[in-house]
Symmetry: C2
């Protein structure tokens, strides 16, 4: 008995139920007519997009999502649709998967394992289901599971016990570096233990901080992956089953770590700009490595004609920096303007002279420079309707080596979750595709250029030391004691940790950025600002 199952790896827009339903209809018609599919499987909560966050608390939104299912029941016949929606039942809400076929609801499954850690808040919205769900289709008994369900032990087994010969899994599984290997390993392991084939459909696309990487797949009962869709792209594919045995197809190759990170960043920028209706993006180009990388990412995401670079030299900007910034803009073919900040800095210096009389220079004067740049960039962003991209990296965000409302100004921070050493690696990687970042930008010592001859190493441990400390403290929640025991110097650990601890207030006001690690600043790491906790 042959069964053709389509995997609808689609990029939905959170909150736009009407558009998502249209996408679902188009995909179902395509799968039926072009792929001869019997069943099409959509991602978790496809109707609303994922994560819809507190939109899920709005009665009108939930009503619209539930109405959409009733509208869809007989909208596309001749193919079964399996799709996720927030199911209202009395005063309870479930994260559900429904099977629609020729005007009938064949089955409805309620997600049992609701993640409430990391970036996930599902217990804020949903009640957990408690029953497996199996339905018969053309003689095959098919079980339904949703995302976290197949990461936990017990749920697959219970679904098998209820009669399932084949599992469909609807997912919204966000990317982080290396996650795909973990995801495939965990689920292959589960499948192997249970000896039941599984169809895994993931959504794709950027949604604020999160990137969904697609890479949907099919595993046979022995735990082998017999099909994989592409990463970071929309794709509707079909896999044929003989009974419950999938027929092997070509697997899309996996990107290596650095190229997957690069692709995630490109997709994140592209979707933030597109989904929020910006006309393009602008950024401040300093001649440093961070803005050079963000420029390359933005051009790869949006095209050179949609990106504009602004050079804003001060008296502390070296000629080398200006030359390199101009070179970057020219190589990538983006429009650029040079607006020296001196007139505004001088104006503020004069205006503040009286109240600052008798004080000594400190970070205040450096911040004024950075904030003059922020004002210029925001003025251009406002005037042109273009998104201002902030160029700060994760190392800076961690230790607060950035000026609030200055270089931190902007609507989106693409490399906010990229540690400095990885910024270099990504720049080198991009240059292997084509030379876009001048070598000197990569090799010169990093500097904020806010004071004479300033370099980052004046006030921070070298990034080769700082980045691994930050990874341990911020991402892995290790204690100072543990980090020092791993071989780091007490003074470096103390400096790094105390800076992380006291800069939560800056991070709280930073723009959202793309999550590529296991723990990003944002929804993922929720620290109090007012805190007596001292990590060291």
């Amino acid at each position: 008995m042959s069964l053709k199952i389509a995997l609808a790896q689609i990029n939905f827009l959170v909150g736009n139920i009407a558009a998502n339903v249209n996408n679902i209809i188009d995909a179902a018609v395509y799968a039926r007519d072009q792929l001869n599919a019997d069943i099409i499987v959509f991602p978790e909560l496809a109707v609303t997009g994922y994560p819809a966050e507190d939109l899920l608390l709005r009665a009108d939104f939930i009503a619209a999502a539930n109405n959409a299912i009733y509208q869809l029941i007989d909208r596309v016949v001749g193919i079964a649709l399996v799709l996720g929606f927030p199911e209202q039942d009395g005063d309870k809400l479930y994260n559900s998967a429904v099977v629609l076929h020729d005007g009938v609801i064949l089955a409805c499954y309620r997600k049992q394992a609701l993640p409430n850690y990391g970036v996930f808040d599902e217990q804020r919205y949903f009640t957990a289901g408690s029953q497996p769900c199996v339905f018969e289709f053309n003689g095959t008994f098919i079980g339904l599971t949703i995302c976290e369900d197949v990461w936990k032990s017990g749920i697959i087994a219970a679904t098998q016990q209820a009669g399932a010969e084949l599992l469909l899994t609807l997912n919204a599984s966000p990317f982080n570096s290396g996650k795909i290997h973990q995801r495939e390993a965990v689920i292959c392991e589960q499948v192997k233990a249970a000896q039941i084939p599984l169809v895994y459909v993931n959504q794709v696309g950027g949604q604020d901080e999160l990137i969904f990487d697609g890479a949907s797949f099919v595993i046979d009962a022995t735990g082998d992956i017999v099909f994989r869709a592409e990463e970071f792209k929309e794709q509707i594919s079909v896999v044929e089953f003989n009974g419950n045995k999938p027929i092997k197809l070509a697997c899309a190759p996996l990107y290596n770590e650095i190229s997957s990170e690069y692709q995630a960043l490109v997709l994140g920028i592209k979707d933030y700009v597109r989904k929020n209706g910006f006309k393009g993006a602008i950024l401040g180009l300093s001649g440093g490595i961070d803005s050079a990388l963000v420029l390359a990412l933005a051009v790869d995401a949006l095209g050179a004609d949609k990106v504009e670079a602004i050079l804003m030299p001060s008296r502390y900007t070296q000629n080398m920096s200006n030359e390199d910034a101009v070179l970057e803009a020219k190589i990538l073919g983006v429009k650029y303007h040079t607006i020296p900040i001196e007139p505004a800095v001088n104006a503020f210096t004069d205006m503040l002279a009286e109240v600052f009389a008798g004080t000594t220079k400190d970070a205040t004067e450096e911040n004024i420079q950075a904030r003059c740049r922020g004002v210029i960039l925001m003025a251009l962003s406002n005037k042109q309707g273009k998104l201002l991209l902030t160029t700060g990296n994760k190392s800076e965000m961690s230790v607060g080596y950035a000026t609030l409302y200055g270089d931190m100004a902007g609507g989106f921070a693409p490399i906010k979750d990229v540690p400095k050493l990885l910024v270099y690696q990504l720049a080198n990687y991009r240059n292997t595709l084509s030379d876009v970042i001048p070598v000197r930008v990569i090799t010169r010592p990093p500097s904020a250029e806010l004071a004479p001859d300033q370099v980052d190493a004046d006030s921070l441990p070298p990034y080769e030391v700082l980045d691994p400390i930050l990874e341990r403290y911020v991402e892995l929640d290790q204690s100072a004691e543990t980090i020092i025991a791993a071989g780091f110097r007490h003074e470096d650990v103390a400096r790094a940790i105390s800076l992380v601890d006291r800069n939560e207030y800056k991070r709280r006001q930073s723009p959202p950025g793309i999550r590529i690690t296991e723990k990003a600043f944002g929804r993922d790491r929720r620290y109090p600002i007012t805190s007596g906790y001292k990590g060291i």
Copy 2:
């Protein structure tokens, strides 16, 4: 049999376990020696402060909190200590209450009802307990419950069935306007139904967005409140029981709604400044009602010598505004400076002339003015180590009637959750205590003064219309349809809702502020920025 129970309504510092333990010891000694108490009851999670958020995911932090309990066991003898801490058991964490007495752990209770809505994320951290807990003390059988437990039906009854004659409840129940009446009503109702007396101990103090209002109380078995501690103040009180019958004491009177809101705002500013170690506060004083109110609040919180006001007139600032701002500063006795912004605005205008050639004036030019003020205020804040208070109100935050990095710049936004009409009411209320806000500031039409003869009513519905719409849409999650059906004009509703929908990006970068309503922007309302949802 007499039993004296002390209620320790204390202001803890989140994250500072050592300081919190010292507070606990001091309070226990005081209660034993000065109040002759047999038992002292502390708030929920007293050892860590509440909410400690993701500090609860740090192994070192949890270990320190658990060690603190072992250190406390025999630290104060001759009195039983009932206190909250995050109890580690294997890989599980519980929100627990422990009873320590003369070197022995008499009981340990694990909270059963873990709130995971609104500002609460307890299921992110804790596993729910499943058992009631009753211990005998001097012949009385005492049951333990924690906060949400006594809002749910069933837990009190189960604790009674386990033998409890008297309940102790440890709480961290945040303030919002009117909450105290709801809290007392709900719990009196529960107590009345169960006919069991209850001792309710709440923490007090400001913690980022949240205010804990204290107002701890004791209810007898008939549901009557026989004692209430003060609102918004630290207080250690004692109530004597004959068996399980509390002896009636004086109840602190409750503030009326407007004065409780005012007190909450004062406490919020005071604790944010104190707990974060600022030397004082500064703010921009415009002559408008919002900054006038924030100035009064800041002075009431910190004292006039700790507050500094900055006047930053532009060509659009009316003389009246400057006069009133000076008057406000003088009446309250705060230092003020006047720094006209024209030189910086002119500098930016010149710098941008080339790139802006051929464009027409729009909000960009208004934003530049607001951002010049932001640069000046941040420079003063940086130089002096004083907290910059942002003066925007909830109506503005809702509709985005504010400039990011401009008037939104600052570390703390005291009236961020105060709708404009309530700003007026609070200003009038403050004037009933002493005349500090000139009448003209209250009666003149509100204006941002960023363009000639500009008033808010040019671009927004009148606040008498706007504020109720916003309350329905933002706080009550009502649909446009529902709001229009309640009698509001379609165009006003459409204007308000579309502004709320598209200004999430601004709110995401706004400073934290004090929550006084049932739903504040911040941890309380988690909306996606990228969203296709249109409320109308």
